[in-house]
C-alpha cells in the first residue's frame, strides 16, 4: 500500500516536473494576438529561452496574457526566471484578397528572479510585432524588451517562411523558413531554420539553430486554440 502510494507520488512528481519543463517557452512568441473569445495555450522551449503562456481575446483588437519563462544567454552567464502579464493591442490591419498584414503593440508588468541580482525585481516589458501573410509566404518582424532595476534586455526576431503547397482549411499546412534572432549581450545572431505545421486549432514550430554559438539548439513551440 505504502509502495503504491510512493509510486503514485513519484508519477505525480514526474508529471509536475514535465509540466514545469513545458512551462519554459519563448518571448519570441510573446505578443501573439488572440481573436476575441478565443483562448490559446502556448508552450515554447529552447536552451536559451522558454515560456508557457495563456492568452485570451477580450475584444476585436485586444488580447491579454499571463506567462512564465526562463531566459539565459549562450554562455549561461545569467539565468532569469520571469513571470509576466501583458495586453496586446492590434493597431493596424490591412486586408487584400490574398493576404493579411497586422501590426500589434504589447506591454505589461513583469516579476523576475535570477542569479545576477538579489531578491525579486519588478519591472515592465513590451514590444511591437508586425507580420504579413498569404497562403504562400509569411514574414514577421518583432522587438521585445524587458526592463527592471536589475537588467534591461531585448531581442529582435525576423521570420521568413514559404509554404511548399497551398493548404486548405482541412489540410495540414506545412511551412519552411528561417528565424533570425538578435538578443542583448549576444555576439552572434541566432539563425534557426525551422518548420511550421498547423491544422485548425493546433500549431507546431520546430527548428535547430545553425550559427556557431547556438549550433544544435533545438526549439519547439506548440500552440492550441480553444
Amino acid at each position: 500500500m505504502k509502495q503504491q502510494f510512493l509510486l503514485s507520488m513519484r508519477r505525480w512528481q514526474r508529471v509536475t516536473t514535465a509540466l514545469i519543463a513545458a512551462a519554459l517557452a519563448s518571448s519570441a512568441y510573446a505578443g501573439f494576438f488572440i481573436p476575441k473569445d478565443s483562448t490559446m495555450v502556448m508552450g515554447m522551449y529552447s536552451p536559451t529561452e522558454s515560456m508557457f503562456e495563456v492568452s485570451h481575446g477580450v475584444t476585436r483588437d485586444t488580447s491579454i496574457a499571463v506567462g512564465v519563462g526562463n531566459m539565459t544567454d549562450t554562455l549561461r552567464s545569467y539565468r532569469w526566471k520571469v513571470a509576466h502579464a501583458q495586453a496586446t493591442k492590434l493597431v493596424g490591419r490591412v486586408y487584400n484578397e490574398d493576404g493579411i498584414g497586422n501590426a500589434y503593440v504589447f506591454a505589461g508588468p513583469l516579476v523576475a528572479t535570477g542569479n545576477t541580482f538579489d531578491g525579486t525585481r519588478y519591472g515592465v516589458h513590451g514590444g511591437v510585432w508586425a507580420d504579413y501573410e498569404t497562403r504562400r509566404v509569411y514574414g514577421r518582424v518583432s522587438w521585445h524588451g524587458y526592463k527592471n532595476s536589475a537588467f534591461a534586455w531585448n531581442e529582435v526576431v525576423v521570420q521568413a517562411m514559404l509554404a511548399p503547397y497551398l493548404a486548405d482549411y482541412e489540410d495540414v499546412a506545412s511551412w519552411g523558413g528561417m528565424q533570425v534572432k538578435r538578443r542583448t549581450g549576444e555576439t552572434q545572431m541566432e539563425l534557426t531554420p525551422f518548420v511550421r505545421f498547423f491544422k485548425k486549432d493546433w500549431w507546431i514550430d520546430a527548428g535547430v539553430s545553425v550559427n556557431r554559438a547556438n549550433r544544435k539548439d533545438i526549439f519547439v513551440n506548440v500552440m492550441h486554440l480553444f
Binding site: 481573436p35 501573410e133 493548404a167 491544422k199
Partner: protein
C-alpha cells in the same frame, strides 16, 4: 378518412416548406489565409444555436454556414462575429444548398 388525408397533406406541405427554408449562407471573407486563425471563425459559427454545420475554404475564401431546419441565422450577427475574429466580410449570399453541396462545388472548382 377525407379529413385525415387533408391533415396528412397539410403536415407534409408544412414540413416541405420548412425544409426549403434550411439555407446555407456563403460568406466571402477577405484576409482569411491561415487555418489556425480561421479556426476561431468556425468556433464562433458553430456556437450559434441556429447553425447546423460549417465549412471553411481558404482556397475560395468562404465560410459556409447552414441553418437548422426552421431556424434563421442573422446576417448582421454573422458579420459582427467574423469581424470580432479579425476578418472582413465582403459578401453574404444565401443559397438553397447543403454544406455537402457547397463543399463539393468548391472542391470541384479547385480541381
Amino acid at each position: 378518412m377525407k379529413n385525415f388525408s387533408l391533415i396528412t397533406l397539410f403536415i407534409a406541405a408544412a414540413f416541405g416548406a420548412q425544409a426549403s427554408f434550411a439555407d446555407t449562407l456563403k460568406i466571402k471573407v477577405d484576409g482569411m489565409v491561415c487555418g489556425f486563425c480561421a479556426s476561431s471563425i468556425e468556433k464562433k459559427m458553430r456556437a450559434n444555436q441556429a447553425t447546423a454545420d460549417v465549412y471553411v475554404s481558404l482556397e475560395n475564401k468562404i465560410v459556409a454556414v447552414s441553418e437548422k431546419t426552421g431556424q434563421t441565422l442573422d446576417d448582421a450577427v454573422l458579420k459582427a462575429q467574423i469581424a470580432d475574429s479579425g476578418y472582413e466580410v465582403k459578401t453574404i449570399e444565401r443559397v438553397s444548398a447543403s454544406i455537402a453541396d457547397v463543399r463539393a462545388a468548391t472542391k470541384a472548382k479547385k480541381t
